[in-house]
Symmetry: C2
Subunit: 419 residues, 2 copies
């Protein structure tokens, strides 16, 4: 399979992009007759896709189910009771819905953590996206055994999964997983070279609780003593971090996932982005689940990330737009072990074509500024992932079926949760 | 002219909406044969449009021109030098671009303040939107006379303007307009019953400076002594307000325009939304200009408004989504003297049709939550303003011409400003 993106704007010039298999084969004038598929790029700008590094994708089914509450009220009385009613088909259709939304908004990869991940895997395989899917562990969960059985079966057939999918080990957090579990996860991550995905220092409560329980150690310090922190670790949130924490995170090569919308919606706190970048910490971007966002748009996330970086820095100078854009694209890809996130010959063919005639992208003094502050889903026309066209001129195959099934599942879930 | 929106979802039910002239004539089953134009609503949800209560629309031409700087560096070294090179055609094409962007994102009205407003008036007349357009005054401006001449000519021909346009008197701020000017504006607003649009307490510097200069009075107290505050007054920003200020604003019926994105991007501060609503202050929503945002999307603005309301309240309970939605729609319309902002028989026919199959609107436990937290421009399919279809299935007439001219003007502006 080969694709030619003909006469597209790339880095300010018009050119052709040739894709062979799942890689960018060449950039420059091409003979259209030699390609299987031609994508007209005349009215488009080619940019790297987004890499969303922290999600709970099946939670699309809980979008708008409960908002604007105190955290424990929200969890105890709304989210957890609804989640207790989730069935395997909800995981599948919820993730299909998430994949569709991500494709529309130019995202080709997500790093997911949720229970019963086998449904997530199936949805990702069918959607054409890339993902790292967590084998979820929560020692405190009432249906812990069921979750673990699903993950175990998935792990046993790992060699049969699409090459677009990686499995990670995903202990929920230090306050839901015991020391033994966390150590075992670290060992598994090291032994198999897989990612470890864990919530870290999301709230002040977690931070203070950890210090009290673990002899004054912060969550980062505590996890470090357990051997959990490495360049394979994705520390979701990492909002409450000391200077010493940042030094540990930088030294271990941990990828801290900034989720600015969720951190504001749940009032978790302000990640000190400027400070973390200056200290050499690897920061990537994520949307978190749609119950605390409530969408999966990396455009929204970049805009709010920039605004939060100013708040945390107490200055209109926070992170610069190039830095924000990079954590949403190239940094996320590289951290996830993908040779992608930039449009160059030889890289994986993950490409987004933007509508060059969008008012939101006009004028174009600075495309990156327009992407961070002005663009949204409406600017995305065509999405290519791993050398396949997943959306063309706004159209994704099978979309109506996904919407219909997601609605059906949501209706049943609502009746079960409130009944 | 009559329009029938056939078989559309409205408040959870399927119905027809009949439009005669510029008003909603009926809601309920209709005979399609009786209408000039039929809009198929089968896959759509009808919702009120947005009313954007603080803009500087021609500044679209400066989108992404300069970002992420200290306020005075940004103004002195970037924005003001570029603005000094603006020509009348830039005002016109910049506003046309703004109008196009607003139509795409479901906004049918904006309250504008910028110099040389006659170009803005022409652009609004041609775009089909509604607007209140400020006759701008700035005692400190170097080309003050030119600005005032343009406004004066506009005022003299006010009876010839489209009924969709109102003129307001728009003194820039207390630190750029003297007491005499502010008093004269208040008198003009009262004498002619026109709106008065002014920046109020945007920054801590303005707040502190006022107290120092005016015997300890806050900007709100100072403006009140000059007679500037009434139910015709739109106080843009009003970020820094005391309890006493809020009492004055509530008592006078002033409309405070919340611009949350701009207030974060320039680090002006956090408007205490929850407190203001509880005190009975009329709050409406605005995007500010695209140099400090950088788009005109009321979707972005609602999401960030909600997040800021939590930050200002130091709690995940800030304003509720229904309140946020109302300040963006009904409250903005009513404050602006428009019998609109809600879809009911007899109201002005300002209607947005959303794509009911959008992933971002699925599932639909709470449409308002989805609109505030999840939707964006991509969800808007069709926009009707004043009984005219301005966008149909994403298509706006004359769009290519606007983009082309905006690009041309921006190119010339860049060369002039940097040359």
């Amino acid at each position: 399979m080969s694709i030619l993106i003909k006469h597209v704007e790339l880095n300010g010039n018009r050119t052709d992009i040739a894709i062979e298999g799942n890689r960018i084969a060449d950039i420059g004038p091409q003979d259209a007759a030699l390609f299987d598929t031609i994508v007209d790029g005349s009215y488009s700008i080619a940019v790297p896709a987004f890499y969303n590094c922290h999600t709970h994708s099946p939670m699309t089914l809980l979008r708008g189910y409960a908002d604007d509450m105190e955290l424990m009220d929200w969890l105890n009385n709304h989210i957890w009771p609804a989640e207790a009613k989730l069935q395997p088909e909800d995981i599948y259709w919820g993730t299909r819905l998430a994949c569709m939304e991500m494709i529309h908004s130019g995202t080709v990869y997500f790093n997911d953590m949720y229970f019963m991940p086998s449904g997530t895997v199936r949805a990702v395989e069918e959607s054409g996206l890339r993902a790292t899917i967590g084998m979820f562990l929560n020692d405190a969960a009432p249906n812990k055994e069921m979750f673990e059985k699903d993950s175990k079966e998935l792990w046993e057939r790992r060699d049969t999964l699409s090459p677009r999918i990686q499995l990670s080990i995903a202990p929920h957090a230090i306050y839901t997983c015991g020391e033994k579990t966390l150590r075992e996860c670290a060992e598994m991550s090291q032994q198999y070279g897989i990612q470890l995905h864990v919530h870290v220092s999301e709230t002040k409560t977690e931070f203070d609780g950890c210090k009290e329980q673990h002899g004054g150690m912060t969550p980062v310090e505590y996890l470090d003593t357990l051997g959990v922190l490495s360049e394979r670790t994705f520390a979701a949130h990492s909002v409450h971090v000391t200077e010493h924490d940042m030094e540990i995170l930088a030294e271990r090569g941990v990828h801290c996932v900034f989720n600015p919308v969720s951190n504001l919606k749940l009032m978790s706190g302000l990640l000190p982005l400027r400070r973390m970048l200056d200290k050499g910490v690897s920061v990537v971007l994520g949307t978190d689940g749609t119950s605390s966002n409530n969408n999966l748009s990396m455009f929204d996330e970049m805009k709010v990330a920039s605004l939060v970086s100013k708040l945390a820095n107490n200055s209109p100078i926070g992170a610069q737009v190039d830095e924000i854009y990079k954590i949403a694209t190239r940094n996320g890809a590289v951290a996830s072990g993908l040779d992608a996130g930039v449009i160059e010959k030889g890289r994986l063919a993950d490409i987004v074509l933007l509508d060059a005639s969008s008012a939101q992208l006009t004028p174009s003094y600075n495309l990156v500024s327009n992407l961070v502050y002005s663009a949204d889903t409406s600017c995305v026309r065509t999405v290519i992932c791993d050398g396949k066209v997943l959306m063309r001129d706004g159209f994704i195959e099978g979309e109506a079926e996904v919407i219909e099934n997601a609605r059906r599942c949501a209706k049943r879930l609502l009746a079960a949760a409130r009944g």
